[in-house]
């Protein structure tokens, strides 16, 4: 009887820890991962990024020149972002979103939402 009680004392917390870890992993899998695009040396990197529906993409300006992030279709549009400033947008619909810098229109990129 004593041995059974000892096993219960050891096993119950272990089961609880395993259950908590499992549920946390499930919650993490439910949430779409965020993605980062770096703006540097007059280019977006990576130029094309693929993310799941619901993902938030964050652009960070690592250049010492101001840039913008503007969707070709007018879906999103950032203000002028100076060095180290960020712009984020959450993609709620699948599709391909082309974008560019309105100050330097030769800078282009693409977000593929699946």
């Amino acid at each position: 009887m004593k041995t059974k009680a000892r096993w219960t004392v050891v096993a119950l917390p272990m089961i609880a820890v395993l259950l908590l870890a499992g549920s946390a992993r499930l919650r993490a899998a439910d949430q779409p991962a965020g993605a980062e695009v770096k703006i540097d040396n007059f280019s977006f990197g990576p130029q094309t990024i693929t993310v799941p529906v619901g993902a938030t993409v964050t652009w960070t300006n690592r250049d010492d020149i101001p840039h913008t992030v503007v969707s070709t279709d007018g879906v999103f549009k950032s203000k002028v972002r100076d060095t180290d400033e960020k712009f984020s947008y959450t993609f709620t619909k699948a599709g391909t979103y082309s974008y560019f810098c309105s100050i330097h229109p030769k800078m282009t990129g693409k977000v593929v939402v699946q």
Binding site: F42, D64, I65, P66, V80, D82, F100, S102, I103, H104, P105, K106, M107
Partner: protein, 154 residues
């Protein structure tokens, strides 16, 4: 107001390309205007230089000032040592000086708004200074365009 992509095949916006084309045309017109003065065709000279001055004011308001305010002025003076900002700042400040001096010359030449003590007699010297200043502005403008939209994408 303007389409986004430029038409000169560089990394510039449409507004920047349009401005460059207009500035080159205005530079030619100013030189032509100086030739008219040398030929003593003063009325044609006045019309030519005044048109350039007013057209430039329009380009400042539509293209250059918004661009300067958006991109250059927030970075001044801490990034003045960088070519991207330095050449644009020289162009901006010299451009304001040239435009104001040009307007002053225009008002003195064409009106009696200023009292005699604020008017000049030495026409040639003032206009030569203005033409020289305008050329500095023109060259620094070309430098700005090259730095912003050509060299950056090489």
């Amino acid at each position: 107001m303007f389409p986004v992509t430029g038409f000169l095949g560089t990394g510039a916006t449409f507004a920047a390309d349009l401005n460059l084309a207009v500035q080159v045309a205005m530079g030619c017109a100013l030189i032509a205007g100086a030739v008219l003065a040398r030929q003593k065709r003063f009325t044609a000279h006045g019309v030519c230089q005044s048109t350039v001055l007013v057209l430039n004011l329009l380009m400042i308001g539509l293209v250059m000032w918004p661009s300067f305010k958006l991109q250059v002025s927030p970075a001044l003076p801490r990034r003045l040592h960088k070519l991207y900002y330095g050449v644009a700042a020289i162009h901006g400040f010299a451009g304001v000086a040239a435009e104001l001096l040009g307007l002053y010359i225009l008002v003195v030449a064409g009106t009696n708004v200023f009292p005699p003590r604020l008017r000049f007699e030495n026409w040639k010297s003032w206009m030569r200074v203005e033409l020289a200043l305008w050329m500095v502005v023109f060259l620094s403008g070309i430098g700005t365009y090259y730095t912003w939209y050509v060299a950056a994408f090489r």
